[in-house]
């Protein structure tokens, strides 16, 4: 899968610049192609009853576009794919939900490199695929300087926070995970040496309680610097939530957090 995506990345890089003014038909054709690459001949149904995707129509900061995905409560979704057509590597992330997940609402932040469609594709336990999309006007998010302070980014690398969510619906257990990581995608330049900073990005984030998985995110270079994920979960008890993050250099960062609102 990764090799295939790298090849895709190169093709996308080559054609990306000309996209700003394309029409609906061109966008639909591109999605057809990407869909086929991702899911082969499996049918992907319009899924607006099951899945919604929200993002600002015009990004305020192309390097940090907040997105929200909502899934119907009884939909039995096991996997969620986030795709960004116009990005050098279109698959931004794949969320695998575990037994302790409450996948009704999920938020993260992504980089957007060109005016593009974002897609959320949900896969049910019985293998059906449902998709929805949203058009976002943003440009330059992938080559935007990752951090204004590379030294600080390095010192803070791998630090994490787990926070409560102020506007969570009553009765839901939700939390926001923040991971400090510059998520270098290989397209940013070192300000001093003027060489491209080698890619180093978060590839995997697992959150669980007492060994019961909440979610496992396979991520890629399209996640924003300092990845942030707001997720719902079904408490298995009052044990801490265990977070394990691995990046593309195989560095592993682990932390345990008291459940928000249940801290000692």
């Amino acid at each position: 899968m990764r090799i295939l995506l790298s090849v895709l990345a190169l093709i996308w890089l080559a054609i990306a610049p000309a996209w700003a003014d394309e029409d609906d038909a061109t966008r639909a054709a591109r999605w057809e192609e990407l869909r086929h690459t991702m899911f082969g001949d499996r049918p992907v149904e319009g899924g607006s009853a099951l899945i919604t995707l929200d993002a600002p129509p015009r990004a305020l900061d192309a390097a940090l576009v907040p997105i929200t995905v909502k899934l119907a409560p009884d939909a039995k979704i096991k996997t969620l794919y986030l795709l960004i057509d116009g990005n050098p590597s279109p698959l931004a992330g794949t969320f695998h939900f575990g037994p302790a997940a409450d996948p009704r609402e999920l938020k993260t932040r992504v980089r957007v490199d060109a005016y593009t469609l974002l897609h959320a594709v949900a896969e049910t336990e019985d293998g059906k695929l449902y998709a929805t999309d949203k058009y976002v006007k943003a440009a330059g998010g992938c080559s935007a300087p990752s951090s204004k302070d590379a030294q600080q980014a390095l010192e803070r690398l791998g630090q994490m926070k787990l926070k409560a969510v102020a506007d969570a619906e009553p009765g839901r257990s939700m939390a926001q995970l923040l991971v400090s990581h510059p998520n270098y995608n290989g397209m940013q330049m070192d300000q001093v040496t003027r060489n491209y900073t080698p890619a180093r990005f978060v590839q995997d984030i697992k959150v669980s309680e007492k060994g019961v998985l909440i979610f496992d995110l396979e991520s890629d270079i399209s996640l924003s610097e300092d990845p942030a994920i707001t997720f719902g979960y079904v408490p298995q008890g009052t044990a801490p939530l265990d977070v394990e993050v691995r990046d593309s250099t195989n560095a592993v960062f682990k932390r345990s957090f008291d459940q928000p609102g249940k801290g000692a």
Partner: protein, 307 residues
């Protein structure tokens, strides 16, 4: 015969070529202090109509030489500024000082190449230019076209901390700042007239835009307040404001962003809520507020959530 026809043809070609390029029209400039001339930019984003003449730009005339401070927002803007210098003095342009990497301030730089000036900038300016310059140029060409857009020029003299340049007895003090409006802000102080050329470290009337660090900017403002200046020249706003009182609005706006975002983060509020709610008390106090406040809040939230 053939030669004569060819010569005539060439003459016509030459006339057409020179006729097509109209001589740049000098600006009306304000002399904000003896020898300091400023052209006020309009409070708009770059359009084909305004030619990206949206920043305050100008020059300082010394006994032996001229320093241009911010060469303009496009090739056209730079050429007009260069023509304006010639209406005020016949002393040579020895320096082109660039206050930071944003195109509305520096894309006129190439218009001064015939003067062979020293191009001066912050030590981090070349890196920013290398990374963003081509992108800025593409964007500006889309708006103005190839012939009007101009281009950036790499600085030939870098300022790491502080430095001085001498215009023949008139010394200018240059200070390279820590990350604030951008990560390559340079300010200029003229002790002779006690004038601080603040560049985009100071916005007046037009809402500030953060491309560096909110907290860093507030810190730099505190330092600048101690500069013994009578007046400051903002990067956007009037051609001159009293100093340090002229920074009051900007400090209040940036302070309110920091205070409101920190309060929201303490209550576990998220970035979407921040974008909807933060800074609204300032909305009727600034031009272009709706175009930039959401961006500022996004950038500042990202910075403050890791405090």
């Amino acid at each position: 015969m053939a030669a004569r026809v060819l010569a005539g043809f060439l003459a016509i070609l030459l006339l057409t070529a020179t006729g097509a390029v109209a001589a740049p029209i000098p600006f009306e400039m304000a002399e904000v202090a003896p020898g300091i001339f400023v052209r006020q930019g309009v409070h708009e984003d770059a359009t084909a109509e305004n030619g990206d003449a949206i920043a305050n730009i100008g020059f300082i005339v010394g006994p032996a030489a001229v320093a241009v401070i911010d060469p303009g927002g496009s090739g056209e803007d730079g050429e007009r500024l260069r023509a304006t210098v010639a209406t005020k003095t016949d002393r040579p342009i020895r320096y082109v000082i660039m206050t930071h990497d944003h195109p509305d301030h520096i894309f006129g730089a190439a218009a001064f190449e015939a003067d062979h000036p020293t191009y001066v900038g912050h030590a981090r300016l070349p890196g920013e230019m290398a990374e963003r310059g081509p992108y800025y140029r593409d964007e500006l060409v889309k708006i103005l076209g190839e012939s009007r857009a101009g281009n950036y020029v790499m600085p030939t003299q870098l300022v790491e901390t502080t430095s001085e340049i001498d215009l023949g007895g008139r010394r200018l003090e240059l200070t390279a700042h820590a990350t604030a409006h951008t990560d390559n802000d340079l300010s200029i102080f003229d002790p002779e007239t006690k004038t601080l050329w603040a560049g985009d470290l100071l916005f007046v009337d037009r809402v500030p835009s953060i491309d560096g660090s909110l907290i860093g900017w507030l810190k730099v403002l505190k330092t600048l307040e101690t500069v013994p200046a009578l007046r400051a020249i903002p990067g956007h706003g009037p051609v001159s404001v009293p100093w340090p009182s002229g920074a009051a609005d900007e400090t209040r706006y940036l302070d309110s962003l920091a205070r409101e975002i920190r309060a929201l983060i303490a209550k576990d509020g998220d970035i979407e809520t921040a974008v909807r709610e933060v800074g609204l008390g300032e909305r009727d106090k600034w031009r272009l507020f709706d175009d930039y406040n959401g961006h500022n809040v996004t950038v500042a939230f990202k910075e403050l959530e890791w405090e």
